[in-house]
């Protein structure tokens, strides 16, 4: 077990975390503000990946076309999310939670078959942008350039999101709505508009995550249900609705998975679920979440 293997695994875990964070932060944001646990979040992610594939087919290979395609894919997903929220989800606010959850699950089913109808059941793939198809050596470990670039992008994203949430008026409104919905409405904030925007933003991030993960993963049906569980783990472990919590949760997920594969390959999958269970048992509101009425 040399140092370079450890670093490799750590970085592999980091890569997983980075992609997971982009999907999970959208879920966390939506849960914190709109107060819905969106099972379809993984579907938006998947659609982002497939759209990225589609755009790569339209635009052809190349650096600019890749990044442009990614942003476009994310936008398409955001728009889709906006439609869903505006015309469907909105009418369920205030209804039983179970119904809201099942609604989001019905979206999973609808999206899954729609994707199947459009792109078929065969796996598709997207090439990495040519400029980033090489590898880099870092402290004895070999790291793909593309993953490194995505990590950098993700760091900027974290910074940007943090700035927005902490320093801007919009961010303050989001934090207020997450903390106390009723008062926020009473203060004249247009919560309807807020819900739509946050939902769309969350979907944009999910779509972006999917588009960016496209070159390094097998794009196929089943992506949706896999990633959404990972998102749940990240968000639950970190703390629902907590920004840094989601980041922490994603990092933990990545590292636990990576080192799990290294140390106990049979049980690596089990390890992340065990992580989720342990956190829920010991600290149900998550490592960085706030303890509102969680305990029975």
């Amino acid at each position: 077990m040399t140092v370079s293997i450890l670093i490799n695994q750590a970085f592999s875990g980091l890569t997983t975390s980075v992609f997971l964070f982009m999907a999970a932060i959208g879920l966390s944001l939506i849960f914190g503000v709109v107060r819905v646990l969106n099972f379809a979040h993984g579907s938006f992610y998947m659609i982002g990946a497939y759209c990225a594939y589609q755009f790569s087919v339209y635009f052809g290979p190349g650096n600019a076309s890749f990044w442009m395609g990614a942003v476009l894919a994310a936008s398409v997903v955001a728009f889709l999310g906006l439609l869903v929220e505006r015309f469907l989800l909105r009418h369920l606010y205030g209804k039983e939670e179970l119904l809201q959850l099942l609604f989001t699950y019905s979206l999973v089913l609808v999206f899954a078959d729609s994707v199947k109808a459009i792109w078929g059941i065969e796996q598709v793939s997207v090439a990495r942008p040519p400029a980033l198809s090489g590898r880099v050596e870092l402290a004895g470990a070999v790291i793909p350039e593309y993953s490194l670039m995505v990590s950098i992008i993700c760091s900027f994203l974290v910074l940007a999101l943090w700035l927005i949430i902490q320093r801007t008026r919009v961010g303050r409104i989001i934090r207020a709505a997450a903390a106390d919905r009723e008062t926020t409405t009473a203060l004249g904030v247009n919560v309807t508009w807020l819900n739509s925007s946050v939902f769309a933003a969350g979907c944009f991030l999910a779509g972006l995550g999917g588009a960016l993960v496209a070159p390094v993963t097998a794009i196929s049906l089943g992506m949706d249900t896999e990633i959404v569980i990972a998102c749940f783990i990240a968000v639950v472990v970190g703390g629902m609705g907590s920004f840094w919590g989601t980041l922490l949760g994603s990092l933990l997920y990545g590292q636990v998975l990576a080192f799990g594969i290294l140390l106990m390959p049979e049980f690596s999958l089990f390890a992340v679920y065990a992580l989720m269970a342990v956190v829920l048992i010991i600290r149900p509101h998550g490592l960085l979440g706030s303890s509102e009425a969680v305990r029975a």
Partner: protein, 335 residues
């Protein structure tokens, strides 16, 4: 009331004797529906009666199936013993999981049930030696004692699969009657109190956690029994059947049929499986149809199919001139 009871008995006998029609698909469907009906009703103990939304109920189903499969394939334990053992194993897992889950509420409760279920799935998926890993456990045999029915009228003419069908019907009906009894008991009444207002229930002397745990274990037990039968019916058991999407499927059955009535999930199981059979024959976009139907249900008929049935009943009652009481229905009375 007795008239309806007789009708029910006749219907059950009818279902048991479906193989006489010679239609293989019908027998297959009937067995499938019976097993899933039990599974769905067991989940409804938690969701509809106690107000606990579990996202991981498929775990107990799966454990029951694996247990039965392993016992019948690898040991000489007869079916008669294997069935309760399988149920017991599932119930034990439910005790472990439930102990932790009832200490937290709402979405966190649901998430923890999901986590534990995925743990169970991951273990079954990976521990190749015992569970066969992702290859699963194929070739689970029919219960041996069914061979001895050769001389029996009617059933003697059935093949093993059909005899098993009759066995399933007998067992499922028995278990459903037991559950119905439990839910109509004082214990069941306490569960509905907990569902409505756990805080208030505490103040009338109910140790809420203890009852929730009991409900959890009972639900897990019957899910395990359903799963045990399924393993044989399916001629094998695979980890897929424990993935969280299966838990979602049975939850859909509960909501589709209606949570507020005992028979709701039975109706839901029938509708979902029957429609599945009919529709997948014509198109491969079954998920799309379920998704859209579920959406429509949520928006237009959140009470599920049972809601329609109850409305029909009340309509007929008023037509028959029986005293139309208050405008509203009472949603928790057991039929």
């Amino acid at each position: 009331m007795t008239r309806w009871r007789w009708l029910l008995v006749v219907a059950i006998i009818g279902v048991a004797l479906v193989p006489l029609s010679g239609a293989r698909m019908a027998t297959f469907l009937a067995t499938d529906v019976a097993i899933w009906a039990l599974f769905a009703v067991s989940l409804n103990i938690l969701v509809g009666y106690t107000g606990l939304v579990s996202f991981g109920h498929a775990a107990y189903f799966g454990i029951g199936a694996y247990a039965m499969g392993l016992l019948l394939k690898n040991t000489t334990v007869p079916f008669v013993l294997a069935l309760p053992l399988a149920g017991l194993l599932a119930a034990m897992f439910a005790v472990l999981v439930g102990f932790f889950c009832v200490r937290i509420t709402k979405v966190y409760f649901s998430m923890l049930t999901l986590a534990f279920a995925q743990i169970a799935w991951a273990l079954c998926f990976k521990v190749n030696a015992v569970t066969g890993g992702d290859q699963g456990l194929p070739g689970i045999p029919y219960p041996g004692f069914l061979k001895y029915f050769d001389g029996v009228p009617v059933i003697g003419a059935f093949d093993m699969g059909e005899r098993f069908h009759v066995l399933v019907i007998v067992l499922v009906v028995t278990f459903l009657v037991i559950i119905h009894r439990i839910l109509g008991s004082p214990f069941g009444r306490v569960l509905t109190m907990i569902r409505e207002n756990p805080g208030r229930a505490e103040f009338v002397g109910v140790n809420v956690r203890r009852y929730q745990l009991a409900a959890f274990v009972i639900a897990g037990l019957f899910a395990g029994l359903a799963g045990a039968m399924f393993g044989i019916f399916n001629r094998g058991m695979y980890p897929d059947l424990m993935y969280w999407t299966k838990s979602a499927e049975v939850l859909i059955m509960v909501v589709l049929g209606g949570m507020s009535r005992f028979y709701g999930p039975i109706l839901g199981a029938f509708l979902l499986l029957w429609l599945n059979q009919e529709i997948t024959a014509v198109t491969e976009y079954w998920s799309l149809i379920v998704g859209l139907s579920l959406m429509a249900l949520i928006f237009f008929l959140p009470g599920g199919a049972a809601d329609l049935v109850e409305r029909g009943r009340r309509f007929l009652a008023t037509r028959a001139g029986r005293a139309a009481t208050a405008v509203v229905e009472t949603r928790t009375r057991n039929p």
